[in-house]
């Protein structure tokens, strides 16, 4: 067997070990870190399975943003989780049954990795062989994501917006405390070196985000990934320089608007093609030459996705830290 097989097996083994370790440890902080590792490993696995775009997203969203969000909740949490008072045998039974059913299901699965599987036969070949003529982008994942199945992606952008609305509705209030903290000394004052390094790094990160946004047609990348990277840069800034400083640079009100604007851009592209007499999200209608239309459509749509994702991630992080940064007023420890 090949080296790829080896990598595959080792990664899957490590994933299983990590999952068990998460189950075993009672230290919540360690569990969160291990979940980060789990994401990291699964993203590596995605690369081995040729899913570079997915790996990109999992790295940015799963290992990055998700872990950061979990961590920002930590101040609330007791470090150790309580041992559960009653044993739950029922859970074990349910899981065993479900697992047995799944294993039973694998018995008739088409062989792993074979070209003759039904999954490789019916719908997918058209994407691989004709998308170049129909959409005109080398990255097939982007073509399918933004054009063939563009409506899914629209729905997904709305999901993100919904989450943002939900977090705001749940945590976005209690303004008085936030204002009270306006003039306090920001967190992480004492980490001079980190702050200087980060100051140095934030501009390249932002440039990288733009590169990912607009290079998504040709390589791995696109709106989600770019949005997440952009948000990560802002989050880095917020963590080091404090929420109140960050709020002055990136005003909350505008970010709220941007979250809505991203979805509206996406929808507007769809409606524009409807007004031009075609179906919703049919980018052919956007220009005289269908291929140009597809390019314009995908560019705009990815932009909308990027804006919403970045804005919502920032909103969520702001809201969490606004709620939880009880130490924002700590004096620096010399």
């Amino acid at each position: 067997m090949t080296i790829e097989f080896l990598v595959d097996i080792v990664l899957l083994g490590l994933l299983a070990l990590t999952a068990i370790a998460i189950h075993k440890t009672r230290d919540l902080f360690a569990s969160i870190m291990l979940t980060g590792i789990y994401s990291l490993l699964s993203a590596l696995f995605f690369i081995v399975m040729d899913a570079v775009d997915v790996a990109f997203t999992e790295a940015a969203v799963g290992a990055g943003i998700s872990t950061l969000l979990m961590l920002s909740c930590m101040p609330l949490v007791k470090k150790q989780e309580q041992p559960s008072r009653h044993h739950r045998p029922l859970g074990l039974v349910v899981v065993t049954l479900t697992g047995a059913l799944l294993i039973y299901g694998t018995m008739d699965m088409p062989p792993f990795g074979s070209v003759d599987d039904p999954i490789q036969q019916h719908v997918a070949p058209r994407y691989l062989h004709q998308s170049m003529d129909e959409v005109g982008l080398p990255n097939v994942v982007t073509s399918v994501l933004a054009s063939y199945r563009g409506f899914d992606t629209f729905g997904e952008t709305v999901v993100i917006l919904t989450a943002g609305i939900g977090v705001l509705a749940l945590l976005g209030f209690r303004r008085s405390r936030a204002q009270e903290m306006q003039h306090r000394v920001p967190a992480m004052q004492q980490h001079m070196i980190l702050r200087i390094i980060s100051k140095l790094l934030i501009p390249p990160i932002l440039i990288f985000a733009f590169y990912v946004q607009f290079h998504g047609d040709f390589g791995p990348g696109g709106g989600f990934q770019a949005g997440a990277i952009f948000a990560a840069a802002i989050i880095l800034y917020t963590m080091l320089f404090g929420l109140s400083t960050a709020r002055q640079v990136f005003r909350e009100r505008y970010i709220h608007l941007l979250a809505a604007v991203g979805v509206l851009i996406y929808g507007a592209v769809g409606i524009a093609s409807m007004l031009a007499g075609k179906n919703f999200l049919d980018y052919d209608a956007l220009a005289a030459n269908p291929l140009t239309g597809q390019h314009v459509g995908i560019l705009l749509v990815e932009l909308g996705v990027g804006i919403t994702v970045a804005a919502v991630m920032i909103i969520i992080f702001y809201t969490f830290s606004g709620r939880l940064d009880k130490d924002d007023h700590k004096e620096p420890e010399s």
Binding site: D8, I9, L12, L15, A16, A19, H23, L28, S31, S39, S42, F45, F46, D50, A51, D53, T57, E58, V61, G62, S66, L69, M70, C73, L76, V77, E81, Q82, S84, H86, R88, G91, L92, G99, L102, I103, M109, F112, G113, V115, I119, Q120, A124, L128, S131, P138, N139, V140, V141, D152, G155, E156, V159, T162, L170, L171, G219, P220, T319, F320
Partner: protein, 118 residues
């Protein structure tokens, strides 16, 4: 013999079940969310495994390459990852509010307080 080649799927199933078990067996609300994210990530691995073609490469068209892996599962999972983070964020927001109003993030404690209130 052909069953043995499904090793990939088998391990994925085990991963899924570990995640699922964490969700239902732990009483800590944050831990439950962690379990949920592991469960979902494992399902993503299942999808991506389906799309793999032996000897294929990433579905970014280039000259001189004939065999590509299936791009459709990748697209679906991109969507699902974003759905996953959305759920996690909302779940965490709920946990924050629960801990503020109940003073605990353990299922047992909360259930007890609710029973007393009733």
């Amino acid at each position: 013999m052909s069953y043995l080649l499904q090793y990939n799927y088998w391990i994925v199933m085990v991963l899924m079940m570990i995640g699922f078990y964490i969700v239902i067996s732990h009483g800590n609300l944050v831990k439950k969310l962690l379990g949920l994210s592991i469960f979902q990530t494992s399902v993503f691995i299942l999808y991506i495994s389906m799309g793999k073609v032996e000897g294929g490469t990433a579905p970014i068209l280039d000259e001189g390459i004939v065999l590509y892996s299936n791009p459709l599962p990748h697209v679906l999972i991109l969507t699902a990852i974003v759905v996953g983070i959305a759920t996690t964020a909302l779940g965490l927001a709920l946990v924050v509010r629960i801990s503020e109003s109940y003073g605990s993030i353990e299922e047992d404690d909360i259930q007890k307080m609710d029973n007393e209130q009733c």
